[in-house]
């Protein structure tokens, strides 16, 4: 949207320029420079809030009336205002007002929270260089052209161009985890002309302008130019690229401080441009709710049509149409036929409009909003180590947690701890284990130390650590700590020399010559060091697949075997190789490096030796138990990981995702096979799958490459049918699927694929890294693990550990679903009960739109007499205990596929509502039929009739909920009995006091008169009993027939 507006702006504005000129430190350019085009830039304020104080009311009202239900009630309200209708506008206006107000308060509160968050971001302190001094100011006051000083571990306040850093080479290290999810440190460079500045004064003396493109959302693209004006010299122009641009949201690492100039601020930063408002995820419950609503709308319209038609039929004879006692007015007689018809139809619509539960949406919203606090409050999901509990970012999807069919999980950090521990190393085929080393030290010392020192050297070098072991990857931390156990302590990096304390407490020094950073294309990183003896060494570490091909000597085969073996055991492996470089080699490499920083391949080819370092990635506690529970609950768990197959598979075995009995299909390395091979393979799998009786014993392993081949729309395959379909078919039949070597985007693709399959299953994605964000956003429900703090915002729910998934799904999800399902069904039920008697009454009052109930009852039925019990029910109901739900994951299957909101259940509730309504109405009808109701012979009128029906209605509907309540806390007691009491007290007051301005006195003393009559009491008791009887009998029989545990469910699903 932003871009669109920007484009519009583009077209409309004459003075638009496609580049901007930034004056560093707001200094005027020297004369002779290009024409000065003043531009206005936004300040550095981030606005994520939707409303301001002023526009809240109009904007919020507009937003709310865009909802179909609210709009419907608004229309009804307006109809009531305009034409003469049976009920006063208050009856629909007041509930609507109530609903709108409650929603507005909720949204206002949420927006206030957003304002607060914005405020804390906008007011966080920033150091700005002004007149040669560092001035501390607030983030939102930052303007384009300001020179900013950022210290280590601080986050950049806006998009900056690096001028100089505390490192003498003018570089700085940055993590961009919160932006793109890559956790490695990236290096950014200052322009050579400015990198020498070290103090504020020097920076301030800089006289330069930056010309750059207008902001655009691509994180990796930036084109600009810096013009540096020196005294009486031609300005020096230097190109600027993405490597000079520090993005807002990234964090400075391993660099004491930097100076940089702001070029994009506030909403123009790349992060803000990339910030997409989260697309609204709609839950399945909401969809069925809307479907039911449409059905009820149809019922409403048909009711109105039936009554209008019958009215005409009934009025065919003029005596009925206009009996002498009830003449029409002239005005009415002269009305046009069509006009009259519409008028009558609308009047019936208004009379029956309450069948659409006005307060349902607001109650659902309240339930979700308040209910989500139970997740946040849950102590079981509180993690002691992190000091954090679960977090709910979207309350709209609570019940979806009870509907999950597919769980997509990331492996590293989600299933596993992502805490690496150094387990063993294998040097030239000899295996060493740290603990063993200590014991057997004496016997093999000499040989050993030698090897170890290499490892250690390498470790330290590659680790690139600072004085702490802060490092881009947990492997490196593990390595450094593993070496410490062996007696080699990494001390520090000083003047490009690494100091290492060896076993004999001597300090060894290595000069760090070059670091070639890790990237995901090469999948390895290298360093070149010079040891104290003057020898140049090239170390290279990386995944086995990228190291082995480059190894030219050494016992590659043994190492390879060991690597494989360890990978199978679920250990994470890392390969290291080194080569000693002659001085000439080194010079050549240097030459290449400095010249182009390209063609790195050459120098890494001839490596001498292979090491293998193995670490163990521990499974998170109870991960296996959780997965098992999820399986039992009927969910399919897929592991999507970037890891290699063996490791991932081992983790899967360890976490019981794959049982030993599972028959595994492996589709691997598709790039070496022709397409039709995959096709045959897939077919074979499918065939075998369909042959086997129980397909649940199949597991599938597929790698990213094969997957992309499968998913790629292939013109050749048109004749063969679609891979996609076959693949989907297989996947649906497998109980466990492992996808390894996945790119982040592929993860999202998989989720999308499953989501779009024909059953439209509900998916849940869980991951901790930023590379899982796309998958999490794609899935119906996204859950975030502990890492990726910023990225956790993208998830719908954040939980500290994988094991908490069990509780959030099996317990919370289950409860939310049960609760909301009952809520929705009950709302429709109670409104059928409410309105159907009114419909029946039309047959006995000459279709004259006479309301059965008093105005106050019509108005308050939904908003006060019957609203609180169901709301509280939907917050605290527990049909079975928490422990049972945890113990019996299979209970989760009972509510799978939206089982409580299917059409038969809906039909049952509606029929029950109609039945009850018929009982209310005809019960009262036969009781009133020509008989005296009192012992003093007086007769009751129509309002007593309506009040009798209404009293029975309120009691029945509330008691029906009481029957459905399985968990009676004091809250339930209070609310259920309280609301009945409230009804009685209200009726007494309403009829007992003359409300002059308000009431037409029609209800005066009606309720008391009714209560003074014995038969009225008896009939109220009778009618309530009869209405509840079918439901009680059904429940009792269900209980008798079905086994104990699932009784509530069996009874719900009929």
């Amino acid at each position: 949207l932003y871009r669109r507006t920007q484009k519009m702006f583009c077209v409309g504005e004459e003075s638009w320029v496609d580049s901007r000129t930034v004056y560093i430190g707001h200094k005027e350019p020297p004369p002779g420079a290009e024409a000065y085009i003043p531009q206005r830039y936004p300040d550095n304020r981030i606005v994520s809030s939707k409303y301001t104080f002023w526009n809240f009311i109009p904007k919020n009202l507009f937003e709310q009336f865009r909802r179909i239900a609210n709009f419907y009630f608004l229309v009804i309200f307006l109809v009531q205002l305009i034409i003469d209708t049976p009920t006063s506008p208050v009856t629909s206006g007041l509930p609507l007002f109530f609903v709108i107000t409650v929603t507005a308060i909720k949204q206002g509160y949420e927006d206030w929270l957003r304002h607060k968050a914005d405020c804390s971001i906008n007011e966080c302190p920033v150091d700005v260089v002004q007149q040669g001094k560092v001035v501390r100011t607030q983030s939102h006051k930052l303007r384009v052209g300001d020179v900013v000083m950022v210290r280590e571990d601080e986050t950049f306040p806006c998009d900056l161009i690096l001028l100089s850093s505390s490192r003498h080479d003018g570089t700085c290290y940055v993590t961009t985890t919160s932006l793109d999810g890559e956790s490695s440190h990236k290096t950014y460079y200052a322009v050579p002309d400015t990198m020498a500045f070290t103090t504020e004064q020097e920076v301030d003396s800089l006289h330069a302008t930056i010309e750059c493109e207008q902001p655009q959302p691509d994180l990796y693209k930036f084109v600009g130019r810096i013009n540096i004006y020196k005294d009486k010299e031609e300005p020096v122009a230097r190109p600027l690229g993405a490597e000079n641009l520090l993005l807002r949201g990234a964090t400075l690492k391993n660099t004491q401080h930097i100076y940089a100039v702001a070029i994009y601020t506030g909403m123009e930063t790349k992060m803000a441009l990339n910030y997409q408002s989260k697309s609204q995820k709609r839950s399945a419950v909401e969809k069925s709710m809307n479907a039911f609503l449409i059905v009820y709308l149809c019922i409403l319209i048909s009711k109105a049509v039936i009554n209008t038609v019958l009215k005409y039929a009934w009025q065919w004879s003029p005596d009925r149409d206009e009996p002498w006692y009830n003449h029409r007015t002239e005005h009415e007689r002269q009305r046009h036929v069509v006009c009259l018809f519409i008028h009558r139809f609308l009047a019936f619509m208004v009379l029956f409009n309450y069948i659409i539960p006005v307060s349902m949406y607001v109650t659902v919203e309240m339930q979700k909003f308040l209910g989500s606090y139970f997740i946040t409050w849950d102590e079981d999901m509180f993690d002691e180590e992190l000091g954090e509990g679960a977090q709910v970012n979207t309350s709209d999807l609570n019940e979806e947690l009870g509907q999950v069919e597919y769980v997509f999980t990331d492996k590293t950090g989600t299933l596993t701890e992502n805490n690496m521990e150094f387990i063993e190393c294998c040097v030239d085929g000899n295996v060493y284990i740290p603990h063993a080393i200590c014991v057997r030290m004496l016997s093999r010392t000499t040989f050993f130390l030698d090897e170890c020192s290499f490892i250690k050297d390498f470790t330290s070098v590659c680790g690139r650590p600072t004085s702490f072991y802060i490092s881009s990857s947990p492997d490196e931390v593990a390595l450094v700590e593993g070496m410490k156990k062996l007696g080699y302590t990494y001390l520090r990096l000083r003047d490009n020399h690494m100091e290492i304390l060896n076993k004999d407490d001597e300090i060894e020094r290595f000069e760090l010559l070059h670091v070639l950073n890790f990237d995901s294309v090469r999948r390895r990183m290298s360093v070149i060091v010079r040891s104290s003896s003057g020898e140049c060494l090239l170390f290279c570490k990386g995944a086995d697949s990228s190291i082995f091909p480059r190894v030219v000597s050494g016992k590659v085969e043994q190492v390879k075997a060991r690597v494989e073996q360890n990978a199978v055991e679920g250990l994470r492996t890392l390969c290291v190789a080194y080569k000693s470089l002659t001085e000439a080699d080194y010079q050549e490499a240097c030459f290449h490096l400095t010249e182009a920083k390209l063609a790195l391949q050459d120098r890494e080819q001839r490596l001498a030796q292979a090491y293998d370092i193995i670490e163990r990635d521990w499974l998170q506690e109870k991960a296996a138990d959780t997965i098992e529970s999820l399986h039992k609950a009927g969910m399919k768990v897929w592991v999507l990981t970037g890891d290699k197959m063996e490791t991932a598979a081992a983790t899967c075995y360890a976490s019981k995702l794959f049982r030993r009995t599972l028959y595994l299909w492996v589709c691997y390395s598709a790039n070496t096979r022709p397409h039709n091979h995959i096709y045959t393979l897939l077919h074979l799998v499918l065939h075998r799958c369909s042959l086997s009786v129980d397909c649940l014993d199949f597991g599938l392993i597929i790698d990213g490459a094969t997957l992309s081949a499968v998913l790629k729309p292939n013109p050749e395959s048109a004749g063969h049918g679609n891979y996609r379909e076959i693949f989907l078919e297989i996947c649906r039949n497998c109980s466990a699927v492992l996808c390894c070597r996945m790119a982040p985007l592929q993860k999202a693709q998989i989720v999308k694929l499953i989501k779009a399959s024909k059953e439209h299953p509900i998916t849940l994605a869980i991951g901790d890294g930023a590379n899982d964000v796309s998958m999490i956003q794609e899935a119906h429900v996204g859950v975030m693990g502990k890492e990726g703090r910023q990225a956790a915002r993208n998830s719908d729910y954040a939980i500290p550990k994988f094991k908490h998934l069990k509780k959030i799904l099996l317990v919370h999800g289950h409860y939310y679903y049960i609760r909301i399902a009952e809520l929705v069904q009950y709302f429709f039920y109670k409104n059928v009960c409410f309105i159907f008697p009114q419909f029946l009454y039309q047959f006995f009052c000459g279709f004259s739109q006479q309301p059965l109930y008093d105005t106050a009852y019509l108005t308050l039925y939904n908003i006060s007499f019957t609203s609180l019990p169901i709301l509280l029910y939907s917050l605290v109901e527990q049909h079975v205990s928490v422990e049972t739900l945890k113990r019996e994951p299979s209970l989760y299957r009972d509510i799978a596929k939206n089982s409580l909101l299917r059409w038969p259940v809906f039909l049952y509730w509606t029929c029950l509502g109609v039945f009850d309504a018929v009982i209310f109405f005809f019960g009262a009808y036969f009781l009133f039929d020509n008989t005296t109701f009192t012992s003093n012979g007086q007769m009751f009128g129509n309002w007593t009739f309506g009040t009798l029906v209404f009293t029975v209605l309120v009691f029945t509907v509330t008691l029906k909920l009481a029957l459905d309540t399985h968990h009676w806390t004091w809250i339930n007691h209070f609310v259920i009995w309280g609301s009945l009491l409230f009804y009685v007290i209200f009726s007494l007051l309403w009829g007992g006091i003359i409300w002059y301005n308000f009431c037409l006195l029609q209800m005066y003393y009606v309720f008391m008169q009714m209560l003074s009559s014995g038969p009225a009491w008896l009939s109220i008791i009778l009618l309530i009993t009869v209405s509840l009887l079918p439901d009680v009998i059904k429940k009792v029989l269900c209980r008798a027939i079905s086994p104990l545990l699932t009784v509530p469910m069996a009874c719900r699903t009929i």
Binding site: Y325, H327, W377, E379, Q850, D929, T934, L1018
Partner: protein, 342 residues
């Protein structure tokens, strides 16, 4: 470190029963041991109530007579002709072979009469009826209430008091009951007090506080169908005149259903066995809309008038409960005895 600890304390959720969803709760289970006795109890109680109601209802008498005069044999046939309707009188004779215990309530009934039509029901002005003189005069188009249309003003724009269809169509047949004793007509005293709701008579409806009452009605006209103005409804008794005339009040309380009875008089001492003659001054036309006019004599008990429905309904539901308890017993028994029951 300390900061971290504090933070931890801050983040830690409250460990209360409510937040952890562990509030102590009563979890009723509809098990056989509870439900079957409950059903038996409810069934027995309902049958008890049902029997009591049924017996009481049986002991009540209702004597209902149609006097519409549709058939030629009917004594009121001559009066039913709408042309010569004015002050037509007819009489209905009936015989009681045993004592009709008092108090006997004397109702008139109408059928197919839709007092519950919406337009009809709202057609009145509460302010007028509560005696507010401001609403007795024509005041632009605000007073009397526009709902009174088409019975708001007469042709001369004089306001109708009481206005509206409901008042306009007040039932105006009158009855006199005579007992035939040895060929001599002896009038049975009819008590017209307290036939309307106490609140209607004392609070809701008020006469304007003008003495004499007729002065209040200056400048107004009587409802079109009325033969006499409101202040002459009962000239003998000021407490039963004008808007607080009991017959008027009874009529103004709309009936719920199209077939209805309204209380006319009370006969406190009851009716001894014998021959009676009911003299009717037949004014109210109902044949045009296929209506029927009836009179009914009924006595009431603590549970109101004769209505067997309630008693029968209680009996049916009570028996149903008993049957259900037996059925449940069988099912439970069968389940417990079958070997594969879990």
């Amino acid at each position: 470190m300390q900061k971290k600890e504090n933070q931890e304390v801050e983040n830690r959720p409250d460990n209360t029963a409510f937040t952890q969803q562990r509030l102590p709760a009563w979890q009723p289970i509809l098990s056989a041991g509870i439900v079957i006795p409950l059903f038996v109890l409810v069934g027995l109680a309902f049958i008890g109530i049902g029997v009591a109601l049924f017996v009481t209802s049986r002991n009540l008498h209702v004597l209902e007579m149609d006097y519409t005069g549709v058939e030629k044999t009917s004594p009121c046939f001559s009066c039913s002709d709408p042309i010569k309707q004015k002050n037509c009188k007819c009489s209905l004779s009936f015989e009681l072979d045993k004592l009709f215990e008092g108090p006997v309530f004397f109702y008139y009934g109408l059928t197919n009469y839709f007092q519950n039509q919406r337009a009809y029901g709202v057609s009145k002005d509460y302010n007028q009826l509560s005696g507010d003189l401001d609403y007795f005069t024509f005041f632009f188009s605000i007073v009397p209430d526009s709902t009174c249309k088409p019975y708001r003003y007469d042709v001369n724009n004089k306001p109708i008091v009481p206005c509206g269809s409901l008042a306009n169509s007040m039932f105006n047949d009158t009855f006199n009951l005579y007992q035939m004793k040895n060929g001599v007509k002896e009038e049975v005293p009819l008590d017209g007090k307290g036939i309307s709701w106490w609140t209607d008579y004392n609070i809701k409806y008020r006469n304007p506080s003008v003495n004499p009452l007729r002065n209040a009605f200056n400048g107004t006209v009587k409802p079109l169908y009325w033969s006499k103005p409101a202040y002459e409804l009962d000239p003998t008794d000021t407490a039963n005149n004008g808007f607080i005339n009991q017959d008027f009040l009874v009529w103004m309380r709309r009936s719920a259903l199209p077939n209805f009875r309204k209380l006319y008089r009370r006969i406190t001492d009851g009716l001894p066995a014998g021959n009676y003659s009911l003299e009717i001054s037949y004014n109210y036309p109902v044949i045009a809309f296929d209506g029927k006019k009836k009179v009914a004599f009924s006595n009431v008990s603590w549970m109101g008038g004769k209505n067997e429905f309630l008693g029968i309904a209680y009996l049916v539901i009570g028996s149903l409960c008993l049957v259900m308890s037996v059925v449940m017993l069988i099912i439970y028994h069968w389940r417990n005895s079958s070997p594969d029951a879990n």
